[in-house]
Symmetry: C2
Amino acid sequence: MFEILAEYLRSKIEVSDAQLQEIEKLCTSKVAKRGEILLKVNEICDSAFFVTKGCLRSFVLDKKNKPHIIQFAPENWWITDRISLMTREPAMFYIEAIEDTEYIAVPEHFFDELPSIVPGAERLTRELLLDLFRSIRKRLISLLSATGEDRYLDFIQSYPSLALRIPQKMIASYLGITPESLSRIRKTISSHAVERH
Amino acid sequence: MFEILAEYLRSKIEVSDAQLQEIEKLCTSKVAKRGEILLKVNEICDSAFFVTKGCLRSFVLDKKNKPHIIQFAPENWWITDRISLMTREPAMFYIEAIEDTEYIAVPEHFFDELPSIVPGAERLTRELLLDLFRSIRKRLISLLSATGEDRYLDFIQSYPSLALRIPQKMIASYLGITPESLSRIRKTISSHAVERH
DNA sequence: CGTGGAGTTGAATACGATCAACACCGGTGG
DNA sequence: CCACCGGTGTTGATCGTATTCAACTCCACG
């Protein structure tokens, strides 16, 4: 199971087998059943999760207890409350398995220690942070300035495999619309496709 | 004018006058008239701006050319496209003066060099990044999960002085609602206040 | 099989956006 | 100094769109 993270790291940075063995010592392989909660709001988040099989999501609850999805994490994705992890503040959201999932938990200091094992790995840490930053900012902007339909089109464009795999009600929650609205949006989109054909 | 940034830095980190002189060499004092654009979408952002007097804002335009405000920056705030600054990617938004404004521009390498002038200043850089992260994430969550009224209440709570100072149409744009809706929200809020009295 | 959840569809509703009118200044120029 | 003007904020009426509620189908799974 660690082999998947190893492969991921090899694709991102130059790393030897000996270094990978060092890295593996920091990692803990775990499994979660569908529905299992890995992090709760207001807990201190002490790990980042790297998914090797299955899918996790992070979400908040509004005052009517409706979930709103912040992020999906299928294979080869990281998910964590980065701020809670870095500052020991209470977590802002839940993390939950939406499929039976295998994942690797790494401790808070993992990314700090990585460069001492693999010189130059700061770049990876920096890239991960930038990717996260970019994606949050992009979502903020699209929530502010784009319609539900445009957000959906962007979603299937950006994450085509997720769009097939994730239940539509969860995609709707991620997009900030109701499942019914998403269903209707999909209908009008497919009718446009027919027109063009 | 640099004195205001100096005071700001003194409040954040231990810094001597000699160090401040070194820092000042990296800074450029500038002024912008109301309406002046400091950064355009798709330009490479090469500075961060620290406002010493007046107010800047960042915003995007949607496909109908309506502005949507990402951030306000009054005195003692930083504003920049951090990702463009760090990666030389094209900027995602505009930065514009909404009042006659005096500000200090610092180059992309400013935050990298700061620790070599003031040992321990990494903490400040890290804190600034965390603050930005926190605020973007908070806005994302509130757009996903809170009503316009709740977002407004949170805004006046979080930034009471901004709420008095910024035109309401801009606050509405920041909150993702129309100026008319904000006006009506304010009306119902004040009537609630009367009830309680 | 049968049950429950997911997705779709329709109808009614509610809510925010839009359009329009107006009051209220703050600044400018006569 | 006052008249005028443009922009801002408020309010009302209308409109459009997403939400809500409900019914139904279709699988997947036990």
